[in-house]
């Protein structure tokens, strides 16, 4: 996650993209990576080399290219989206590439970079995430069984404050500087005009360059990366919540996707297993006839037809009485003698 935007924060994007590259190189596919960037460097009008993001001076390594899949870009990088990705509380319409589809056997690596302070990390120059929120998000992940082990790396000023509040098991954390210290950038490129990387990440990447999928390097070596003499700030780490000894934790457990593959030379027949499986079905379930649609829905019972109501007619007594009255009035007015003319 890169939490900064604007041209002068070029190095944070370069940090994130370099770690992304290393992780991909070590075998983790894009479907297993959630990349959150402001993504305003490569096509920035101030970029003298458009469509590139360099991580090393003299433009040696372009970490931006055709195969960079940014999942959350620009204004989508918000605290809310980050926490939703972590905890899994995303709207049903979110595509798979934007989800963290982890379960309780997954090892998760979280790398965050940007501007931070004592207990908070600034997102996109408009909001902050606190260390308490982050700790609570990790606890939610633990309770929802969303990780097996979690490695948290943060490269910001006073980064150690961000892992102070964690309380969930199986979390290991690394930070580029202690509380009260600033993380410093590594080297400016005078051609591009900005600093290209931060020191801590630069040395971590140098370290990662020597890792290959079969290497047995463990976490203790990662803790030694970037001593004070090189980094100016004091990197810190926290392993008290982690159940395994860092000595026994391989770098590739988090940074790479190492599969345990056993190659056999003989063929294995699977037919006998299927036959045994089929006989376990109960007999009566197999012997039914396919049901026809009309029989499944008894229409006559569903639509209860009410008997057609007879139309209402005024009662005979009423009609008789009314017309008797009318005739009486008529003859009272015009006299009985006219009756013979009527009939």
């Amino acid at each position: 996650v890169c939490t900064s935007r604007f041209w002068f924060n070029y190095r944070h994007v370069a940090n994130t993209l370099s770690v992304y590259r290393s992780v991909k190189r070590l075998g983790i596919p894009d479907s297993h990576i959630v990349l959150m960037l402001a993504d305003d460097m490569a096509c920035n009008p101030r970029n003298p080399k458009p469509a590139t993001v360099f991580s090393h001076k003299n433009m040696e390594l372009n970490v931006y290219g055709d195969d960079v899949e940014v999942d959350y870009r620009s204004y989508e990088v918000t605290v809310e989206n980050f926490l939703r990705v972590l905890t899994g509380r995303i709207p049903p319409s979110t595509p798979r590439s934007k989800r963290l589809l982890s379960d309780d056997r997954s090892n998760i690596l979280i790398y965050m970079t940007g501007h931070g302070g004592n207990g908070f990390l600034k997102f996109q120059d408009s909001e902050e995430i606190t260390n308490v929120e982050l700790a609570d998000a990790f606890e939610q992940m633990w309770q929802k069984r969303r990780y097996n082990e979690l490695l948290f790396i943060i490269d910001t000023c006073q980064g150690a404050s961000m892992y102070e509040r964690f309380y969930s098991p199986n979390i290991m954390a690394l930070a580029s500087s202690q509380v009260g210290e600033d993380s410093l950038s590594h080297q400016p490129d005078l051609g591009i005009g900005v600093h290209l990387m931060d020191r801590y990440t630069f040395y971590v990447l140098e370290f990662l360059e020597e890792i290959h999928p079969a290497s047995q390097t463990n976490m203790n070596d990662l803790f030694q990366v970037c001593p004070k003499s090189l980094c100016v700030s004091t990197p810190g780490h926290r392993t008290d919540l982690f159940q395994r000894d860092p000595q026994n934790v391989l770098i590739t457990d988090f940074f790479g996707s190492v599969r345990k593959v056993e190659i056999t030379t003989e063929t294995i027949s699977l037919d006998s297993d299927l036959a045994g499986f089929e006989s376990k079905l109960p007999k009566d379930e197999l012997a039914t006839e396919p049901q026809k649609y009309a029989e499944q829905l008894p229409v006559a019972q569903i639509i209860h037809q009410k008997p057609k109501q007879k139309d209402w007619h005024p009662p005979g007594g009423f009609i008789l009485g009314l017309w008797a009255l009318i005739i009486m009035v008529f003859f009272k007015t015009y006299g009985i003698k006219h009756m013979k003319h009527v009939f």
Binding site: Q309, D311, W312, H313, P314, P315, G317, F318, I319, G321, L322, L325, V329, K332, T333
Partner: protein, 435 residues
């Protein structure tokens, strides 16, 4: 005179038929000024449909028509348009014949009073001649048939037209002098909407006048005739109500019709004054004010009877106007009925003072009713106060019309007996004032 009347009738029927076929018919039926909860056609259809489903139409507060209307429309519902056109024609013909007879009576009375030297010497210009009165019945029929209010009421198929027909027949029977028929039609009119009860007094006065019975409280013949007429009226009313019982074998129609008219539970806006008042009122006071408002309709009968006992037909006109202003659910059909009588008093033209302002108020308010309704209900930029203001103005215009005619009529009567040039004691010109 038959040919011009037939022509007028044909024109009116054509206008109505054209409007029935056009798309305006549906729009007009929905207008609250034309269709009230008492006489909307939609409710008649609903009641008859309920009857076909085996449910009493008076269950629920939809149907407020009398059982005789159910009987009438049960067989004629497919020909509803024809029925309403025929009722309008019948009303116009009845009014035509009634006013024809009335003119003869007026002329006879005038002749009698001239011969008896009851008139002052200089009132020659106020005496009416048969020549000028020749076209009045036609004008009355014309005013009724081609009045936009009547046309709208007919196109909306509001049963107010049937009420108007019954009242017109009642007026015809009264003027012809048949107490029996007059009582029967008055009972029918009262049975349908409660308020024609107040027309009992002018009808009684007219019949007494016709029988040359003097209206003295001590006179035995006066009380005898009154009792006879009242007995005829009440008996017909009771017979009709009992007959209605046998239609549905229940007395449900009494609270649905008369209870509804008197207690005014439905506060849909109309052109009357009840709805706004009762919409704003606390429950605590509503009974009191319902009583006050209803008494207001019946209250003017006695004073008007005392003042206008010599002129019962004018009294009838004023009474019909008061009913259509102060009844609980007035519609424009009620207004159309009393406006049809205005040509009868056209000789009062020189004494009417507010013709211009009245016509402006009535026309403008009639045009503003749909506008403010639209603004209130559809656009949402007005509220009920706007519509109420127009209702108020419209009713004030109507009241002004009645009081203007009243004043003009009484003034003419005064001039007839006292001479046109009135002088005060000191010789200056005097002015009659209605106190």
């Amino acid at each position: 005179m038959a040919a011009p009347l037939v022509l007028v009738v044909l024109v009116a029927v054509t206008v109505r038929a054209v409007l029935y076929r056009s798309s305006l018919a549906a729009f007009i039926s929905e207008r609250v000024e034309v269709a009230s909860p008492l006489n909307a056609w939609k409710r008649v259809v609903e009641g008859l449909a309920l009857l076909d489903l085996g449910v009493s139409p008076y269950s629920g507060a939809i149907f407020h028509e009398t059982p005789l209307i159910i009987y009438l429309f049960h067989f004629l519902i497919e020909y509803a348009e024809l029925v309403f056109m025929i009722t309008d024609v019948l009303t116009a013909v009845a009014l035509y014949l009634a006013i024809q007879d009335f003119n003869k009576v007026v002329f006879k009375k005038q002749k009698l009073l001239i011969e008896l030297d009851k008139y002052a010497p200089d009132v020659a210009e106020l005496i009416r001649t048969p020549m000028e009165m020749h076209y009045i019945p036609l004008k009355v029929a014309l005013f009724y048939l081609l009045n936009p209010y009547t046309v709208m009421s007919c196109v909306a198929k509001s049963t107010c037209a049937i009420n108007n027909t019954v009242i017109a027949f009642f007026i015809l029977a009264t003027i012809k002098g048949s107490a029996f028929l007059s009582a029967v039609f008055l009972a029918l009119a009262t049975y349908q909407s409660l308020y024609p009860l107040t027309l009992f007094a002018p009808a009684l006065l007219y019949l007494l006048q016709r029988q040359f019975i003097p209206i003295k409280l001590k006179s035995k013949s006066f009380w005898l005739y009154t009792m006879q007429y009242a007995a005829l009226y009440l008996c017909s009313l009771v017979v009709i109500i009992c007959l209605s019982f046998f239609l549905l074998n229940s007395w449900d129609f009494i609270p649905s019709v008369y209870g509804f008219i008197l207690s005014v539970p439905d506060l849909t806006p109309n052109i009357g004054l009840f709805w706004y008042f009762f919409a704003e009122m606390f429950e605590h006071f509503s009974l009191f004010f319902v009583c006050v408002f209803q008494i207001n309709v019946f209250f003017y009968t006695i004073p008007l009877a005392i003042k206008l006992k010599e002129h019962p037909v004018f009294f009838m006109f004023i009474q019909i106007a008061i009913i259509s202003i102060f009844k609980s659910y007035p519609t424009v059909g009620d207004i159309a009925l009393y406006m049809a009588f205005l040509p009868v008093w056209s000789h009062l033209y020189r004494f009417l003072r507010n013709i211009f302002i009245l016509s402006c108020v009535l026309i403008v308010c009639s045009l503003l009713f749909p506008v403010l309704w639209h603004l209130w209900i559809y656009a949402g930029s007005a509220n009920s106060n706007f519509y109420y203001a127009i209702t108020l103005t419209f009713n004030i215009g109507q009241i002004l019309l009645i009081s203007d005619y009243f004043y003009a009529f009484l003034r003419r009567e005064y001039y007839l007996t006292h001479g046109l040039h009135l002088t005060r004691q000191d010789g200056t010109e005097a002015m009659l004032v209605l106190k």
